[in-house]
């Protein structure tokens, strides 16, 4: 496979040949002038990774990994923002000319020498990774009966259940195929395999006319019975993106769970990869970075990956598990493969290897608050990490859903219900495939007011299947240049740097150390950022749900939102013939309306108070006020007993006294524009 160093061989029988690619059909396209090789069925991202590019660019002088959750937008040709595409949802097209969006402006001038070939050379200090489709207006409004967001097993079940009620259903899935991440988690004893389940559900959906499946469609926001999605449309050799609004009275959110990133220095270097992303790249596209790996996990299902890799010819040096004595059938199986395991061990540091593209990974014994000295660095091509799972409640929060921190499970979980929206699957907090399938049906039951389907978890006793440990967190040491990040997503938020200030403490201008609070970040947060913030003490446990709800918002341009919505009319027709409510009783019980005039020519401003004489300044002692104008005269509300035409009074205008006279009482109706809110005299 010339030009594709990260494509797994298929000379042996293994699970990672790549279900989506056709290796008989090679293709080539160009990205920023660089030739990328791939196969039919690749996405732009999978082809780039297969071709040996694994780095987006640099942030703060440190390289940042390219991944499905962190990749720049691209355009086909020299496109504009409106024609941008996400590389993880865009198919690789033979002969296409792609460009990273804004890439020319933001390209690094001097990328580190060894990184040129593997990097997209984006200068991330200059601007964050953009997702311009968040700012695009919708191209169309589509109505349907039920929208299901997420094409995993829960979403597929929900779509079928909704269709059985006679409803028309739109099933939106971000990736190019249905099935979600069920394959990663494997099956339980006696249960059918995830592949079998997905095949059956897919066949049933294809056979159901009422269900429209829209792949490559990322939902950007859910609000007020509407879903806004960005979809990638493929028509032969043309690929376009468009934003659409979908309206439905019932919405199921089966958005799955996001894999947490352990927080340690170097956790976003190229070749540090979360296990689910690595699994999906290998399983769907046959892409794998390197020929050796170390796994650091808090979760048992991650042990499946090294076993599958061994079959594919990739050696796993070690599995480090944050749990001291983890029990799991997967662990037993992996022992049979002879893979070294280390309990109570977490990744402490990843640094670029002195030679080649690999890493030097430092592991550390850590349990019950005890942290031993770090082990000697171990070279590896790839560090696989799994810091546990956070239900993806982003859309749930946007729709107004609430949540709270579950201290036992170390994650934010949904609470309460929404009238038009139901959660299903991992997003609802379920664990087993069995429960996810049932929850898809139950979500539809709830939305349609049907008898509910009990959702039962098929869980194994913790004595045999140890629960996930909290996401590991290792502070940045004084000696390392590597930094850590809270999540693998678009936000590059770092935990506080515990290193002492380099300024001497007696230095008079030394600034006090700021208290780190994640909620202070002047940007929207990802739900995993919030979960990590809770574990790092940047958000109190009791505030986790509130922060998640308030800060995980759609990050669209408010101005575009303003253009889309009808600006409410702030100029209501003024009420006819009545005193502004706040003047009732102000100048006695029976104030009269008079035309007043200044002794010298001047305009008497509305709101100016009128006093009996110029000595008085306390506004409580005013006997009247100017409330409008008619022609050249001012209209005043006067509360003085027995006022007489020609009588002199004092008006105060910005602290100055102005002599005025009562001209005449108003007995005729005045024009509405001048005097609509003041009564005519009785």
């Amino acid at each position: 496979m010339k030009g594709q160093p990260n494509r797994l061989d298929i000379d042996k029988q293994h699970a990672f040949h790549g279900t989506e690619v056709d290796r008989r059909k090679s293709l080539k396209f160009r990205l920023d002038g660089r030739t990328i090789s791939g196969f039919a069925g690749d996405t732009v991202l999978s082809a780039i990774l297969a071709s040996g590019v694994d780095m987006v660019g640099e942030f703060g002088g440190q390289p940042i990994a390219l991944s499905g959750r962190f990749s720049p937008a691209i355009t086909l040709g020299q496109g504009k923002a409106a024609q941008t595409l996400p590389m993880q949802r865009t198919p690789a097209l033979d002969g296409a000319e792609f460009h990273t969006f804004g890439g020319r402006l933001r390209r690094l001038r001097l990328p580190a020498l060894g990184n040129r070939r593997r990097s997209l050379q984006q200068n991330l200090d200059h601007a964050a990774i953009a997702s311009p489709w968040h700012d695009q207006p919708p191209h169309a409004l589509i109505t349907t009966d039920v929208i299901v967001v997420g094409g995993g097993v829960a979403g597929m079940t929900a779509a079928l259940a909704a269709a059985r009620t006679g409803a028309s259903v739109m099933l939106l899935e971000a990736s190019p195929l249905l099935g979600g991440s069920a394959g990663y988690f494997g099956s339980q004893e006696g249960d059918e395999t995830p592949d079998q389940t997905i095949s059956q559900l897919t066949a049933a959906i294809i056979a159901t006319d009422a269900i429209t499946v829209v792949l490559r469609s990322q939902v950007l926001a859910v609000h007020s019975g509407r879903v806004r999605a960005h979809r990638v449309l493929v028509d032969g050799a043309t690929v376009t993106g468009e934003v659409v609004d979908l309206a439905a009275p019932r919405i199921v959110l089966a958005t799955g769970a996001i894999e947490r990133l352990p927080v340690f220095p170097g956790n976003r270097l190229p070749r540090v990869m979360t296990t689910l992303e690595a699994y999906l790249l290998a399983e769907r596209y046959g892409v794998w970075l390197g020929r050796s790996a170390i796994l650091a996990t808090v979760h048992s299902a991650a042990y499946r990956l090294p076993m599958l890799l061994t079959d594919a010819g990739v050696a796993t040096h070690k599995i480090a598990d944050a749990r001291t004595d983890p029990q799991s059938r997967f662990i037993e199986f992996s022992r049979a493969y002879g893979i070294m395991q280390a309990g109570g061990t977490i990744p402490a540091l990843a640094a670029p290897a002195a030679k080649g593209f690999g890493l030097a990974v430092t592991l550390q014994l850590s349990f019950d608050g005890y942290a031993a000295h770090a082990e000697a660095p171990v070279p590896t091509d790839l560090l696989l990490v799994c810091g546990g799972w956070q239900p993806d409640l982003t859309l749930w929060h946007m729709a107004g859903g609430r949540s709270r921190w579950n201290a036992e499970r170390h994650r934010i979980e949904p609470i309460g219900v929404l009238p038009q929206i139901a959660l299903a699957g991992s997003a609802a907090g379920h664990f087993s495939k069995h429960a996810c399938l049932l929850s898809g049906q139950d979500a539809v039951d709830r939305l349609f007011g049907a008898p509910r389907t009990p959702v039962v978890e098929l869980t194994i006793d913790p004595a045999y299947e140890t629960l996930d440990a909290p996401t590991p967190k290792v502070p940045r040491s004084e000696t390392t240049e590597q930094v850590s990040y809270l999540d693998a997503g678009l936000n590059l938020i770092q935990p506080p740097d515990p290193r002492p200030s380099t300024k001497r403490s007696w230095w008079p201008f030394r600034r006090s150390e700021p208290t780190w609070s994640l909620a202070d970040q002047p940007r929207s947060l990802g739900i995993v950022d919030v979960a990590a913030g809770v574990q790092l003490g940047g958000i109190p446990v009791e505030s986790a749900g509130i922060v998640a709800q308030e800060r995980t918002v759609a990050s669209g341009d408010l101005i575009d939102a303003a253009r889309l919505a009808l600006l409410p009319d702030l100029r209501p027709a003024p009420p006819a013939s009545r005193v502004p409510a706040y003047l009732v009783g102000r100048f006695g019980s029976e104030p009269r309306v008079w035309i007043v005039a200044a002794a010298e020519p001047r305009i008497l401003p509305v709101g100016a108070l009128i006093f009996v004489n110029s000595d008085q300044t306390d506004s409580r002692h005013a006997i009247g006020a100017v409330v409008g104008h008619e022609g050249d005269g001012a209209i005043a509300l006067i509360g003085k007993a027995s006022p007489q035409a020609g009588e002199g009074l004092t008006l105060r205008d910005q602290g100055r006294s102005v002599a005025i006279r009562l001209i005449e009482p108003v007995t005729t109706p005045l024009s509405g524009a001048a005097f609509s809110s003041v009564p005519s005299p009785a």
């Binding site: 909620a519 002047p522 408010l558 101005i559 919505a565 409410p568 502004p580 409510a581 506004s619 005013a622």
Partner: protein, 360 residues
């Protein structure tokens, strides 16, 4: 198991609730239980605390002129000096009715220490009129809350998180609380913010006394510098506060979509303005736009509502009112603003923008 009753149970999470609880305990020697959250540093604000507000009644300005210095001293004593910021907020209005009300805000404030200057025509945009209020005090809730929490703790005021307590308020205004199997009673309950009233007052009573309004808070990513750190569009009931990062918090009446579109139009002409956070909540407004202070018909819990941005600065007078130690002016002011007063017409009515943004 039950303990001797406390004198007051103050329910609410705003600075006003905290200050009233602390004043009742410190100045007036009462036993106080405070039921409130401590989220200010982590949640988007639902309100704003400013020593000036869009008040058209001179007696409101007169009262405030007495209580602001008291509150400042109190906050300084409690260690909250750094949480007070002196600034020059701008009030502005687009509509003729709003501009008329703003003129009365200016004239009513005269003589009570507020230096108010009109902004030059066109300064804020075509057809928009504005005033700048010099030397106002603004409370930074995220900084003030932990200070007041420590102060309350030092005063022996028991803090109970609302989520952990079952609170029952009797028709006579007393309260009983069950927390971890322990029942505690309080002779009088004070519902000190909208959230507390919405949670504990019967729906029909709320409907009789108040108009329920959807509100939205939006936080933007850092953007251009506003004309002032704090700006109030009084005819849209919209407040803007720009933080040190450059992000703007906007709190407005209306549903999310309407509020977002309005904020976008106001702030975003020819600029990109991105949202970094948001929430929707509910607020209460009296039918005449004036504050509601005291117990309903002389019985039931004490209510504090509709005090607007200046509520926290009225805390010393409110605490005196609750213990029967109010001055004659305070007594007159609060007695005229009790719940259940005549509101059509109301002799204490204040400006209330009736063109608030429509709910989405």
């Amino acid at each position: 198991m039950s303990e001797a009753p406390a004198d007051f149970a103050v329910v609410g999470s705003t600075p006003l609730a905290r200050l009233v609880a602390g004043l009742l305990a410190s100045v007036h020697g009462k036993r106080v239980i405070w039921i409130g959250d401590s989220h200010a540093a982590f949640r988007l604000p639902r309100g704003i605390d400013l020593s000036f507000g869009p008040m058209t009644r001179p007696e409101s300005w007169a009262l405030l002129s007495q209580t602001v210095p008291e509150t400042v001293k109190l906050l300084a004593k409690a260690g909250g000096k750094a949480s007070m910021m002196r600034l020059d907020p701008i009030f502005f209005a687009d509509t003729p009715i709003g501009q008329q009300a703003m003129a009365f805000v200016c004239s009513s404030a005269a003589g009570f220490g507020a230096a108010i200057e009109p902004l030059p025509s066109g300064h804020l945009g075509k057809g928009r009129k504005g005033i700048v209020l010099r030397d106002a005090l603004y409370l930074q809730r995220d900084r003030l809350e932990p200070v007041l929490d420590r102060w309350l703790e030092g005063l022996g005021v028991t803090r109970v998180p609302p989520a952990q307590v079952h609170l029952h308020i009797a028709p006579n205004g007393s309260a009983s609380m069950e927390l971890d199997g322990t029942v505690t009673a309080a002779t009088r309950a004070v519902l000190a913010d909208d959230e507390a009233i919405l949670a504990h007052l019967p729906t029909e009573t709320i409907a009789r006394l108040f108009e329920r309004r959807p509100m939205t808070t939006i936080l933007t990513e850092p953007t251009f510098q506003l004309s002032a750190r704090v700006m109030l569009q009084i005819d849209a009931d919209l407040s803007f506060m720009q933080g040190s990062h450059g992000g703007v918090v906007a709190i407005g009446a209306g549903g999310h979509d309407a509020c977002v579109s309005h904020i976008g139009v106001l702030l975003g002409a020819n600029r990109q303005l991105r949202q970094a956070g948001g929430n929707s909540h509910e607020s209460l407004r009296s039918h005449d736009g004036a504050p509601v202070v005291g117990s309903i018909d002389g019985t039931g819990p004490e209510l504090l509502a509709g005090l607007g941005a200046t509520g926290a600065f009225l805390a010393p007078a409110l605490a005196r009112w609750f213990v029967g130690a109010a001055t004659q002016d305070e007594l007159s002011y609060f007695a005229a603003r009790i719940p259940g007063r005549a509101t059509a017409p109301s002799i204490v009515a204040d400006y209330a923008p009736h063109a608030a943004l429509a709910a989405a």
